[in-house]
Amino acid sequence: MRRAAFCAGAGLAALLPLAASAAEELPLLPPYVAAYEPQSVDERGMWMMADEQEKLWALSELRVDDEELNAYVERVLCETVGKDRCSGVRIHILNVPAFNATMSPNGAMTVWSGLLLRVRTEAQLAAVLGHEFAHFEMRHSLKGFEQRRSASDASAWLGVLGGFAQVNTGDAQVSLVGSIFQFNRGQETEADLLGLKYLAQSAYPSRAASEVWQQLMEESDATAFGRKIKKRDTYRAGFFDTHPTSLSRADYLLDQALAYNDAGDPRSKEHYEAIQKHLPKFLADQVKLNDFNGTEYILSGIAGTTGWTGELLHARAELFAARGNPRDLITSTTLYLQAMDAGYRPPETLRGLGLSLVKSGKRSEGARYLEDYLAILPDAPDAAIIKMYVPK
C-alpha cells in the first residue's frame, strides 16, 4: 500500500517553495516529510485500524466508483495543499447525502456526496479538503487519542446540519463511515487556520472557507424555519462543546482571509461541470430527505450560480410533489413543465408531471404525459401500475 506522505515538524523537514503572490505576510506552511511511517505503539495501532477501515471503504457499496469525479476532487486537493503533500492521500467519495468529509491518520480521506452537492465553488471544496488535510498533517487523531483515549466527539461538519438529522448522523451512518478519528475544539481551530493557509497559498481565494460556514448556517436556519423551531446555531461555544461555533468560525476565518488579502478565481463553473454527471442523483437523494426548506436553500444556492437548469427545476418539482399539498401540486406541475421547457425531458419528469396532474384532478391531461412516459419506457418496472392511470 502506498503510504502517506506526511509533515510532522521532524528534523528531515524540507520547506516547500512558497509560490505566493499576496501583498500582506503570506503564511508559512509547516515543514513537510514524505513517506512518514507511524512511530509509537498508539500511532501504529491507529494506522492499523485506519487501514482496515479503508479496505472497507474501497469495497463499500456506498463508494461512488467514478474515476473522473475522484480525479476532480484529487486535483482540487493537490492544487490546495501542493502536489507533494497530496500524494500521500487516497480519496474515497461516498454516496451519503450529508455535508461531511473525514480524514484518517493513514492518509485516507472520505468525501461525502452531500458535500459535493453543497459547495458552490472549487474554492469552497478546497477549503473543506484543506481543513481535513490539516488534521492529517498535524496528526490530530493521534494527539486527540493520546489525550482522551476515547472518541466521543461529533465529527466536524455534521455538527451544524446533523442536528436536524438530514441523515441519521447519530449512529448508523457515522458508524458506517467509521468516524473513529475525531477532533476537539482546539484541534478544529488549528485545522481551520492551517487549512486557510493552504488556501491563501493556492490559486483559490481564502475567503471561501468563511463562505462554507456561512452557507451551513443559512441552510441550518432554513431548516429550522421550515420546522418552525428556534434556530439551532449558538453564538458562543459552551465549555463542553467540541467545536468552535459556526458563527465564530465564519468570523475568524473571514478576518484572517481579509488579513491575507489574497485573491483568486473560486472556479464555480468548473465545480458544476465536474459534478454534472452525478448532479441528478445527488439532488434526488437530497429531495428524498424530509427537509423541504433546507433543500430549497440548497437548490436556490446552486441556481444562483448555474441558473435554474432543467435538473434543478425537476428536483424542485419533486420536492413540491413529495410534500403533496394541493397548492404544492400546482407548483410541481408548473416546475415539471418549466424543466421540460428548459430541455430536460427524462422519463421521470413525464412521470412526475403526469402523476401531479392526476392528483390535482386533471386526469386526462395527466394521462397524456403518463402515456408519453410509457412510450419511452414500455418495460419500466412501474409500467403496470402507471397504466392504471391511462385510459384504455
Binding site: E61, A165, A172, L289, N290, G324, P381
Partner: protein
C-alpha cells in the same frame, strides 16, 4: 448481607423474565395484528417481536429481525408517518397524505427509510397493481443497503389505501440466502391477510 441477597434475587428475576419477551405465533387464525387492524391465517410458525417502531407497526420474524421479517403497518391515517418519529419537531418524517396515489406508497416508504434510518442506497423495483383483501393495492419490490453492516436487503410489499388510511405489509430479508428461502412463506401469509376495520 441483605443488600447482596436483594441484588442476587433481582439478577435472578431479570434472567428469568427477559424484558424483551417475544411471542410465538402459532399456525391458525390470528386477528390481533397491529391491535386488531389485520387478521391472518399463517400456515407456519412465526415470532412476533416485542419491539415495534410506533403505534401502527407490528413485526413478525422467523429467525430474527435482520434475517427475515414481515412488517405490518396498519391503518396509518392521513397526517401520520409510518413509524415513530425520533423528534416530531426536529426530525419529522414524511406523512401519509390525503391525495396519495398507489404509486406514491413505495416513495413514502423509501423517504421514511432514508430519513429515519439513514439509508443512503435504496431502490424501488417492480410496481404492479394487486389486491389486498379485495381492495385495489400496489405490489412492489425494493432493495436497500443496511447502513450499519452494508448488507443488501430485499423487500417485497403490498399496500392499499382505504378510507384515508394506509395499509402495508412488507417482507424484508438479506438478498443472500434468506430472501429466496423465505419469501414464499410471506406470499402464502399475504394471501390470508384481511383488514378487519
Amino acid at each position: 448481607m441483605l443488600r447482596q441477597i436483594t441484588a442476587a434475587t433481582a439478577a435472578i428475576l431479570l434472567l428469568s423474565f427477559p424484558v424483551a419477551a417475544h411471542k410465538v405465533i402459532e399456525p391458525g387464525l390470528n386477528d390481533k395484528i397491529v391491535k386488531g387492524v389485520f387478521s391472518a391465517n399463517p400456515e407456519t410458525r412465526w415470532n412476533r417481536l416485542q419491539q415495534r417502531d410506533g403505534n401502527y407497526q407490528e413485526i413478525w420474524t422467523i429467525d430474527g429481525d435482520r434475517l427475515n421479517r414481515v412488517v405490518f403497518y396498519g391503518g396509518v391515517p392521513v397526517g401520520e408517518p409510518l413509524v415513530r418519529e425520533r423528534d416530531k419537531k426536529r426530525d419529522p418524517l414524511p406523512e401519509v397524505t390525503g391525495n396519495m396515489l398507489l404509486p406514491d406508497i413505495p416513495l413514502l416508504l423509501e423517504r421514511t427509510y432514508r430519513t429515519k434510518y439513514g439509508i443512503a442506497i435504496m431502490a424501488i423495483g417492480r410496481q404492479e397493481p394487486a389486491t389486498l383483501d379485495g381492495r385495489p393495492a400496489i405490489a412492489f419490490d425494493y432493495t436497500f443497503i443496511d447502513p450499519e453492516y452494508e448488507v443488501e436487503t430485499k423487500g417485497e410489499a403490498i399496500a392499499a389505501l382505504d378510507n384515508g388510511r394506509l395499509y402495508l405489509v412488507a417482507f424484508e430479508a438479506p438478498s443472500v440466502f434468506y430472501f429466496n428461502r423465505d419469501v414464499q412463506k410471506f406470499r402464502d401469509l399475504v394471501k390470508t391477510v384481511s383488514l378487519t376495520r
